[in-house]
Amino acid sequence: MSHGVPEITLGFLTFNLSTVLMLLITAAIVFIIAVVATRNLKLKPTGMQNFFEWIMDFVRGIINSNMDWKTGGRFHILGITLIMFIAVGNLLGLPLGGVYIYGDLWWKSPTADPVVTMTLASMVMVLATYYGIRMRGAKHYFKTFIQPMPFMFPLKIIEEFANTLTLGLRLYGNIYAGEILLGLLAGLAGSGILGFIGAIVPTMAWLGFSIFIGFIQAFIFTMLTMVYISHKVSTDH
């Protein structure tokens, strides 16, 4: 059974339609959940509003642990959107993990695609650099590359790329690995009656673990985003 990806090329841009579809679905789910939860706002919160206020406070806690709120407050919305988007994206691949239509893989986590995660990671690093230069000045920004010692310069250059790579690939690796194992277990379950019985318990265990991983990775991505941004914008080093 051959498998592929549904790709189309428009001009010089190649689109993986499955990735685009899953990104859109993720964004739609996040948007619908968020809007439904905040549609009926009350001073005394109930139900979903409580949950979203908890998320906001959680992200506020992440930011506060890296920089003071005066600097970090502007990244609050970025943080909440990132954590929601990545968490939903991570979980999205679980229920229908690997749906093939005409040999093409359509349903997967958008975050199981290295292009998506690396794009998000690069976006974070570009934002960090932009805000670093805007808030501290270009001179200070370039000075950080030769601090504390000038010979650190090559290491600092490598660090920039290493940060971006690890940020994106950590997320990709975790989710991708989870989906592969889930796919293997699904293949085992589909191989016969014995295989089905044998696959039930490991599949349930791995699904539970994947849900846990999905939330943890969303948290780690947001946390590291704030860490990297605070490296660039905060004044205390």
Binding site: M1, S2, H3, G4, V5, E7, T9, L10, F12, L13, T14, F15, N16, T19, V20, L23, L24, A27, V30, F31, A34, V35, A37, T38, L41, K42, L43, P45, Q49, F52, E53, M56, H76, I77, L78, I80, T81, M84, F85, G98, Y100, D104, L105, K108, P110, A112, D113, P114, V115, V116, T119, L120, M123, Y176, E179, I180, G183, L184, G187
Partner: protein
């Protein structure tokens, strides 16, 4: 290969520039929309609540101070009232004592006066009685004497004679 179908991106050959654009556009549009429709209002409500809580705390603090002040006032008033009541009770007691003494002395005086008037009356009654007895004795004596003498002496002489005698007898007595 059996495992090939699990390699999710095995079919991709070139770098997917379109995915990068799609990811960025979708994420940024999502962020913008959420800011406008979800996070913004939610943050507004949370800020509003913060302000409400702060103002409520202020109000509670003010109310507490006000209550403490009122309590102090009430205590002072109560103390004042108590001392006032005490002075009133004391003065009333004093007044009562004075009145009692007055009433007793007035009653005593009245009793004395009554006694004296009674004594005086008795005295006068006694005098009157004595006088009456004296008159009677005189007339009896005259009657007796005229009976004894068998003749009439002039009433005036006789009477004067007897009165003299009786007066002598009274002195001698």
């Amino acid at each position: 290969m059996f495992l090939d179908k699990f390699v999710l991106n095995a079919g991709a050959e070139a770098f997917n520039g379109g995915d990068v654009v799609a990811t960025l556009v979708i994420f940024l549009v999502l962020m913008f929309l959420l800011k406008k429709f979800a996070w913004g209002p939610l943050m507004g409500v949370m800020k509003q609540r913060e302000e409400l809580v702060a103002s409520e705390i202020d109000a509670a603090e003010n109310a507490r101070k006000e209550a403490a002040k009122t309590l102090e006032e009430q205590k002072a008033l109560l103390k004042e009232a108590r001392t006032e009541a005490q002075t009133i009770v004391e003065s009333a007691k004093k007044q009562g004592d004075i009145q009692r003494d007055e009433i007793i002395s007035a009653a005593r005086a009245e009793a004395n006066r009554l006694k004296e008037s009674a004594v005086r009356e008795i005295e006068t009654e006694k005098e009157k009685a004595i006088l009456a007895v004296r008159e009677e004795v005189v007339s009896l004596s005259v009657l007796a004497a005229s009976k004894v003498l068998g003749k009439e002496i002039s009433e005036e002489d006789n009477s004067a004679l007897i009165k003299e005698t009786i007066a002598k007898a009274g002195e001698a007595k």
